[in-house]
């Protein structure tokens, strides 16, 4: 999808530059791509594919529940369906799709030629893909996990789940967490060390702030679930006793570790969503964000507080009263930074000139839905109500209002907003309004009745219910709503495929936005920016003076990248980035073999690590005598600077 750039004769520098940065176009070359735009596109498409699969599973559940005493789907299959649905949406869609947007757009928004550690990003993609395929193959082989997406022991222990279903779940977790941890490290490094000169910390676009805050949350949250799922699989495969009460273990250890990850996970999904909201509101209100600093601080404090309220998922386990009070207070307190963001968004729109294009519609939808989800969240923070509606459809309604409101609606806004940049084509405004209308109506029809069903006592995760309970009508309404949502997604898909070929050609900056991803062509060239930019404001395309300098002097015969200082992004040094390589793919294949083999034989962890080691050495080993473009041996004295040495760069801009 990268169009050849037509250059005027004599622009040999740019032609060579593009040749240097291009990934191999051949079929085999496809496995060695390291361009963040190429990987980002794959990540987006793959995550959206899993969204469709998860959606189909949701549709099957709604079909089953649409009338009482239905025998369409049996309890065993139903258990696999809701577990695979939840697991897919959390681990294979919501987190990866947000990181995918980060992989594609963060380097563009900070004005960089590439993402830091591009081969690690490629590895991350392959791990994510293989993990997801592994889950769905297992599901088709009737080995899909069936213990719920949080896989509580003792249900998930061998005694109650003797099949491989829980092992499949535990290893899927390992796949996806490896993938998102690798991405998080790359994004943090990109944001702190590769920003365009002039982009000091207080000029970083809010979406990029959201991504970096999320990445830090990933670093601290994901290890908890990796440890937990490792302990679970050890309990199952080699008879350890972490969650086995008879031998001194405790199932509550699982719940603590799981929710220490699981609650931050909600914010790992929502914070990028709020970053999207900030970007779209700024663009379509035609003014700088009101209260930029307050919004950044709100993101950071949400991240901190997100780690302090995991226990509110465990109120029904019988905790000490003091603990309950503490976590109730913490759960209510986190509404404060979210409130700050809301008021800043409202103030921005209030004082701006709003244009109601399709991306903006999704943001307005987000306001309505997420607000309702937030309100039921405050209700659920109260222990008595929490225990009353525990494990009912009220919780299902709440979590879908939060996640679909907080992430999917901004995400669809993002699809409409950034589709032109990625593909060079515009989506249809007219169809977009229909998609929004169908999704918004369908969503509320589906999930609002679930609040009432929950209050009427309908438990979640039951495959059917007797007619005498009187839940039939509301369930039928919910299923009808799901059908509308399905139509909305289908219409979006049709439009997205149509627009690839037949959509209106997009300008570089079709919305008149101010951030750097719009400063390059649509779609961007391989090197992102033929002339890398410098910036003089928060919205460079609005704020930069006409003679704002562009960067020259980066080499065009190696993948030369400018590295800048953390705080003020002053130029520091250059570094040559790695060439395309098939080794990340091969490493992912070897790691996949190890993970899957280990379900059947614990010794696979030892034997299987040999190919992984070989692949990693292949990845690291230099292929050409001077691939780093640093001075070759022999060197008489050091030429590269150390910290604190006289800056090789002076230039404040």
């Amino acid at each position: 999808m990268t169009r050849p750039i037509h250059l005027a004769a004599g622009d040999e520098h740019f032609a060579r530059l593009e040749q240097t940065w291009a990934d191999p176009p051949s079929f085999l070359g496809w496995f060695s791509h390291v361009d963040h735009k190429s990987i980002g596109r794959r990540y987006l498409v793959t995550a959206f594919g899993f969204f469709l699969l998860g959606g189909i599973l949701a549709g099957m559940m709604r079909l089953q529940l649409s009338r009482p005493d239905s025998s369409l789907i049996g309890p065993d299959l139903y258990n696999q369906i809701f577990t695979t649905h939840g697991t897919t949406m959390m681990f294979l869609f919501a987190v990866p799709v947000m990181q995918a947007l980060g992989i594609y757009f963060v380097p563009l928004m900070v004005g960089a030629r590439a993402i830091a550690f591009p081969r690690m990003i490629a590895f991350s993609y392959w791990m994510f893909l293989f993990g997801g395929v592994f889950l769905y193959i297992s599901f088709l082989l009737n080995a899909g996990p069936d213990m719920g997406w949080f896989s509580y022991p003792p249900l998930a222990e061998t005694l109650y789940t003797p099949s491989k279903r829980a092992d499949v779940w535990a290893q899927l977790i390992t796949f996806t967490e490896v993938a998102s941890l690798a991405t998080a490290v790359s994004l943090i490094t990109t944001v702190f060390k590769m920003r365009a000169p002039g982009m000091s910390l207080n000029r970083i676009p809010l979406f990029v702030w959201a991504q970096v805050v999320t990445s830090f949350m990933v670093l601290f949250a994901m290890p908890a679930i990796m440890l937990a799922s490792t302990e679970l699989i050890l309990d199952r495969l080699v008879n350890t006793h972490f969650f086995d009460v008879e031998h001194g273990g405790d199932a509550l250890l699982w719940q603590h570790l799981f929710w220490f990850f699981g609650h931050p996970e909600v914010y790992i999904i929502f914070i990028p969503g709020s970053g999207i909201v900030s970007m779209i509101i700024t663009t379509f209100s035609r003014r700088h964000m009101f209260g930029y600093l307050a919004v950044v601080l709100a993101l950071v404090s949400t991240a901190f507080m997100g780690f302090g309220l995991w226990v509110h998922h465990m109120f029904a386990t019988g905790l000490p009263q003091l603990g309950e009070s503490f976590f109730t207070a913490a759960s209510m307190m986190i509404a404060i930074p979210t409130g700050v963001q809301f008021f800043c968004w409202i103030a921005t729109m209030w004082s701006g000139r709003i244009t109601l294009k399709t991306p903006m519609l999704w943001i307005l939808g987000f306001f309505a839905i997420f607000l309702l989800g937030g309100l039921t969240g405050v209700m659920l923070a109260a222990v008595p109500l929490n225990i009353q509606v525990h494990d009912t459809f009220f919780v299902v309604a709440h979590l879908h209002y939060v996640l679909i409101g907080g992430a999917i609606f901004p995400l669809f806004g993002a699809f409409y907003y950034w589709y032109p940049k990625i593909t060079g084509r515009m989506l249809s405004e007219r169809l977009g309004r229909w998609v929004f209308g169908l999704m918004f109506t369908g969503f509320n029809l589906t999930f609002f009745p679930m609040h009432l069903l929950g209050l009427h006592g309908m438990p979640r995760r039951v495959y059917t219910y007797p007619a005498s309970m009187g839940w039939g009508t509301l369930n039928l309404v919910a299923s009808g709503g799901a059908l509308l949502m399905g139509c909305g997604v289908l219409l979006f898909l049709i439009d997205a495929l149509r627009a690839l070929r037949a959509g209106d050609v997009a300008a570089d900056d079709p919305w008149g936005a101010g951030t750097l991803e719009w400063a390059t062509s649509s779609p961007p060239p391989y090197s992102n920016f033929l002339r890398p930019p410098t910036v003089a404001g928060r919205e460079p395309l609005w704020d930069n003076p006409i003679d704002q300098p562009v960067i020259v002097g980066l080499r065009d015969d190696v993948r030369d990248v400018l590295v800048t200082h953390v705080l003020d992004a002053e130029p520091d040094h250059r570094v040559a980035f790695p060439e395309p390589s098939c080794w990340p793919f091969l490493t992912a294949v070897a790691t996949t073999a190890l993970f899957i083999w280990s379900i059947f034989n614990p010794w696979a962890v030892v034997y299987g690590s040999v190919p992984v080691f070989v692949a990693m050495v292949g990845w690291f080993w230099p292929k050409s005598p001077n691939e780093g473009a640093t001075p070759p041996w022999p060197i008489r004295h050091r030429t590269l600077p150390r910290p604190g040495e006289a800056p090789a760069a002076g230039g404040a801009i």
Binding site: M120, I551, H573, T630
Partner: protein, 204 residues
């Protein structure tokens, strides 16, 4: 050496093609990994003390705490390895190929040493992983750290081979430096784990 600003361009061609320490991207990547793995260790230690509150006796009756001898010897070996590690780091920062080769090999000798002593540690933890929850968490803590000393040994070995057979270029010395930073992490992370495994069961 400062970039030249003309009317419309910022010329960065004079900047160095790389940098050492916290200026380099490699340092940031290493720190990211260190943060992730520190969190894993911290949560595993948290699990240890959580399980401890769930059992009537810790270690359970009839089980002795791990023998102090091998764990303590290994702690000393690991700490001693910081000396050649620091010297390798310094040699890297001086771009002194001879020094890098010598001290990385010495580091590897220490690596063989602490991996070998680790085998004895496993033989003297006095409990198996399937005995009870105490045994499980002891083996997971020791196993987690063992994974780190094995992989760090292998990383270092691969880099050392490269520094002998080449092609050597200046940016490899940044790798040597960051490898030493990670070695520091692996050794220092052992100290709390040593305290927990060997001393926590002895304090009542």
């Amino acid at each position: 050496m400062s970039p030249r600003e003309t009317g419309r361009t910022l010329d960065v061609s004079a900047l160095a093609p790389g940098a050492f320490g916290s200026r380099s991207l490699m340092w940031w990547g290493t720190m990211g990994i260190v943060l992730i793995e520190s969190t894993v260790f911290a949560l595993a230690i948290g699990s240890y003390f959580f399980l401890r509150t769930r059992m009537p006796a810790w270690p359970p009756d009839g089980v002795a705490p791990p023998d102090l001898r091998w764990g303590t010897i290994n702690t000393l070996v690991l700490l001693a390895s910081l000396i050649p590690n620091q010297l390798a780091k310094r040699a890297g920062e001086r771009v002194d190929l001879r020094g890098v080769r010598i001290w990385m090999v010495v580091c590897l000798v220490f690596g063989v040493g602490f991996n070998a002593v680790r085998v004895y540690e496993f033989q003297h933890v006095n409990v198996l992983w399937d005995h009870d929850a105490y045994g499980s968490i002891v083996w997971v803590l020791l196993g987690l750290h063992t994974t780190h000393i094995v992989t760090d040994f292998l990383d270092t070995a691969v880099l050392a081979v490269l520094m002998f057979v080449g092609p050597v270029e200046e940016k490899r010395f940044v790798d040597v430096e960051e490898n030493s930073v990670y070695w520091y992490f692996v050794v220092l992370a052992w100290l709390p784990i040593y305290g927990v495994l060997y001393w926590a069961p002895r304090l009542t």
